[in-house]
């Protein structure tokens, strides 16, 4: 193995270790956030205070070409319960209850993310 190969391999290994460290930190610390935001094609569709949800409910998000994602909300958590895309990655991601990672449906361009609820004003538009 020459120097160039070793350097590139070391750079790659470094990047992987760094990212593994970030993932580890994300999962060891408590992820905060109670404000869920649902976006479709970059537009904010819904804003939900998960700590104020009393009864579980769900609502559909319809997109172009018959695309549909159904979002389910329960006290303290949110998920995409069904989607019309073939890969179903967003459905299999399951419930999220903190800001660690969002739920994303790439084919239908839907994002469900949770952000910090601190300093949240009730006047925010939904």
């Amino acid at each position: 193995m020459n120097k160039r190969t070793a350097l590139l391999a070391a750079l790659l290994a470094g990047a992987v270790l760094l990212c593994a460290g970030v993932i580890w930190r994300q999962h060891s610390g408590p992820g905060g956030g109670v404000l869920a935001r649902v976006y479709q094609r970059g537009e904010l569709m819904e804003e939900i205070r998960l700590d104020r949800v009393q009864e579980p409910y769900s609502f559909p998000l319809t997109g172009e070409g018959g695309a549909e994602n159904v979002v389910e909300v329960e006290p303290g958590r949110i998920r995409i319960v069904s989607a019309t895309c073939p890969d179903q990655v967003c459905v299999r991601q399951g419930w999220i209850s903190d800001s660690t990672v969002p739920v994303v449906c790439l084919p239908n361009q839907v994002i469900v993310e949770i952000v910090g609820g601190e300093g949240f004003a009730d006047t925010a538009a939904g």
Binding site: R4, T5, A9, L12, I23, R41, P86, P107, Q109
Partner: protein
């Protein structure tokens, strides 16, 4: 280092068509395998074996044509035109990195070119996703995609390395 060698038209187009067909078949077969990790963008990327091999065997220019043809046909056959943008964004960044690496490294380091380019493939895909979704939120997936890209890229890289070793005699006249 092997650079693009002058090959006659028929031979070149046959090789490229064959590699495109192989890449497309691998791509379609892989799409049937469910990915155990539910993070958008994570996959084995077996079709990358062909891309990495083509960069070194046929040269970066021909590899790009094979890549673009495979990505386009893959989107058409899977009926998911949205994947076209993600795959193209990832594929082009991956190819740019391979172009650079093919000048720095040689035929013997395909195993290393593949994971590096796979990481950039995932980065490109994520940037396209951020642009299409109009949100930087998706970058939260970056650490996962870097680790997954390096792991799957190493696997496909070793496959391409083995393949290159066996095909070396065949590729020459």
């Amino acid at each position: 280092m092997r650079t693009q060698r002058p090959a006659d038209g028929a031979r070149r187009i046959t090789q490229m068509a064959l590699l495109t067909a192989i890449a497309l078949t691998i791509f379609m077969a892989e799409a049937q395998i469910p990915v155990p990790i539910p993070i958008p963008g994570i996959k084995l990327g077996l079709a990358n074996i062909v891309t990495v091999y083509a960069v070194f065997a046929l040269g970066p220019g021909d590899a790009l044509l094979i890549l673009v043809a495979r990505v386009f046909l893959g989107a058409v056959f899977s009926g998911q035109m949205m994947t076209l943008f993600y795959s193209l964004g990832g594929g082009l960044l991956c190819w740019l990195v391979l172009l650079l690496l093919s000048r720095l490294l040689t035929w013997k380091q395909i195993w290393l070119c593949s994971p590096i380019s796979a990481v950039f493939h995932n980065l490109g895909q994520l940037l396209v996703a951020a642009a299409l979704l109009g949100s930087w939120t998706v970058l939260a997936y970056l650490p996962y995609l870097v680790v997954a890209g390096a792991a799957s890229g190493l696997f496909t890289g070793l496959c391409a390395q083995l393949l290159a070793g066996r095909l070396k005699g065949l590729g020459r006249r």
